[in-house]
Symmetry: C2
Subunit: 422 residues, 2 copies
């Protein structure tokens, strides 16, 4: 039983922004952050003087490798006009900006600061696809995991194989996650893949017809996803459409002390649970089918919030590969171990279902600029809780509680954060 | 006038450790951290159960580049037995672990955690000297500073030239910093250069004699430092002995909530002032001779502590190059602008002087494994305030207040932290 932890001072979110996610080879990291920052500033209902921002926390995985630029914190601070206010980079692989969010919460809860900007950025398309896969693999333990050849498609291929063997799932169960998340991303104009699988299928048929080429005869999305030309195996049973894309983008949000939140907006969103855990490398894990660090993080956040998994009405869950979403909806307690894939099959995690997961399209379709992802997940929850998710707004009547789960590496870093509207 | 900030809950240091600093090509980062951690554990007067540690903050500049390993937090947590407790990496160039220290302070002051391990590590000798200089240059703004050819010797060569022109200092004033810091490092068994300039000079003469080679005729340390064979110009007026070495090593300390500090030791050291600021790239600076971010950080820390520069009895000051120490003792308010070099000349900053600076030997002689430096500076202050600095203990009768200043990049990140014994 973990200790119940609490903060000495409440923290609320009063603004949020994210850049369009996608492949934008002509831009550099600071461009994306400025785009996200401008949306954040304009999202503050009662207006914001940026001079009121006390500090910046910036999540970034490795612009060291992607852009030959370390020490990104003060550069971003300078570009958005915050200098000489402090700027700190946090790194926890693909959970980098969830850590920035957490440090922003601590900085305010400590009483030291009142208004803190948190966010993340990554520009990945500066490298070739092969080099990106290698760069990401630096988030494994290179002495034990990377050294024996594990890259992330391999890690999650192994996870999926273990999951299928233990619980009797089939590759089609993973495909269902992709179909769902594409359907959600279709409603998200900032998503990298702003299209359902059917949209993609139809546009390919349309294109062939226009070009006078032989028109493929896929009869539905399942037929399309089983075509090895369209959806080749990357690392069995993970096929191309089970993997998130390589993305560029940024995200940010403005945190303030609870007692001043209403000075900025009549509709703040409160941070009621925060959790983080760390995990050991694969060769020391008891089983590949669950993530100890996620369970630890979730428990910490639930205890702080005084909530149970069934209280969470909507969640963004780290789906770098489709199998990851299934494992994590179990680790977070939304479904019992071995029941996650059935829940997806039964449509329980659809946007219109009882437990909507990844209404943004998830990493899988919204895109996964790794350092930006943690706060981008929270951005989706912020939008949904404020009823501002437009076409993709979930049809839940009294939507008050949402959460975001972010994973780094092979499970080395996991976070779970709970947000509430009051 | 900056706002006076305070923490909602006091924080104390109850243990500290650092590895020997130096060039240890056969080791990897986790080895250094374990060495520092073991000393920290044994330094806790009333003993420590490591199960009581709630979280880890780890400063690291770029093991991404140095060791092809990102996501170091959970790896280090695993190696010291902390998993599944959270582990977060902070990065602010050469100030990386000062940021880890600060986040540990916030995590406790927030009320969320009670016992937090903070530290830093860097293994730099895995690359050649030329590649290390290139890797470090990634901490400049690569779009504006690095792109026009600035590496750090160049940055501080330009700083020194500007300083000489503005205030009339001569290269010998910088040399005095090296002489002082070498003399201090002679008394520090963990220092990379555990020898005074005279020791080095004499041992070279001894070696020549033994080998039957012509014995050089240096008559004193000044003569030695003016020999272009011994002390070539690296970036005018910075010569070899004005530059810190390339180093490997780790440091850590254990922070706890003030109210439980006495459960661990009768002699805790309290964190009474914390400060951090950020700076803009060189081409936008008003002058090269001072660091805006240091001034901001210092002001923040002094205000919190309710102290003035003259109250600080001893300090570690970021001396990556000798000129940096001179600029920063001015920026910290110890001496007026343009008076720092005279203070050094007058011996005011000697270990036995009225304002001892860098009793550890500083980065210049103790070594500068960049990610480990911030907490290693605080380690020296901890040792001095507890009267445990052995041979290098300063002869100040009622030593109660010390501070450490850490710099990242070309001034992008600066921190200043004040510690007190009660």
């Amino acid at each position: 039983m973990q200790k119940r932890r609490k903060l000495g001072r409440g923290v609320a979110i009063i603004g949020a922004g994210m850049s369009k996610f996608g492949a934008f080879r002509e831009k550099i990291q600071r461009d994306f952050f400025v785009e996200a920052f401008e949306e954040m500033v304009s999202s503050v209902d009662k207006g914001l003087d940026i001079k009121d921002i006390d500090a910046l926390y910036l999540g970034n995985f490795s612009s060291d490798v992607f852009e030959n630029q370390v020490h990104l914190g003060p550069i971003i601070a300078d570009w958005i006009g915050l200098t000489p206010k402090p700027a700190t980079r946090t790194e926890g692989a693909c959970a980098a900006s969830a850590l920035a969010f957490r440090e922003g919460v601590f900085a305010i809860a400590s009483g030291f600061y009142d208004v803190v900007l948190v966010g993340g950025v990554e520009k990945m398309t500066s490298l070739s696809t092969e080099r990106v896969t290698e760069a990401l693999a630096l988030a494994t333990d290179m002495s034990y995991e990377g050294r024996v050849g594990f890259t992330f498609p391999g890690v999650f291929g192994a996870t999926a194989t273990a999951y299928m063997e233990k619980y009797g799932a089939r590759p089609e169960h993973f495909m269902r996650v992709a179909i769902k998340n594409h359907r959600n991303a279709r409603l998200n104009p900032k998503a990298q893949f702003n299209a359902s699988i059917l949209d993609i299928m139809n546009s390919r048929m349309e294109r062939a017809k226009k070009k006078g080429e032989p028109v493929p005869t896929w009869k539905d999305e399942w037929d399309f996803l089983h075509d090895p030309q369209v959806n080749p195996v990357v690392a069995w049973p993970m096929r191309l459409y089970d993997c998130c894309p390589i993305s560029d983008g940024a995200s940010c949000m403005l945190l303030v002390a609870e007692e001043i939140a209403k000075d900025f907006t009549p509709n703040p969103i409160y941070v009621t649970g925060i959790g983080q855990g760390s995990g050991r490398p694969l060769h020391t894990k008891e089983a590949l089918t669950y993530f100890e660090a996620t369970r630890y993080a979730a428990n910490e956040a639930y205890q702080m919030a005084g909530l149970k998994p069934e209280d969470i009405q909507i969640a963004e869950v780290h789906d770098c590969f489709t199998v990851a979403e299934i494992c994590h909806i179990e680790d977070l307690g939304f479904f019992k171990p071995g029941e996650g894939y059935k829940a997806v099959e039964q449509g329980l995690t659809e946007r219109t279902g009882p437990k909507p997961i990844n209404t943004s399209g998830g990493l899988k379709c919204k895109g996964h600029p790794v350092g930006a992802t943690g706060v981008a997940q929270l951005y989706e929850i912020w939008k949904q809780l404020r009823g501002e998710a437009q076409e993709r707004q979930v049809p839940i009547k009294d939507l008050r509680i949402g959460a975001a789960h972010n994973l780094g590496g092979t499970g080395g870093t996991c976070t779970f954060n709970i947000l509430e509207r009051r």
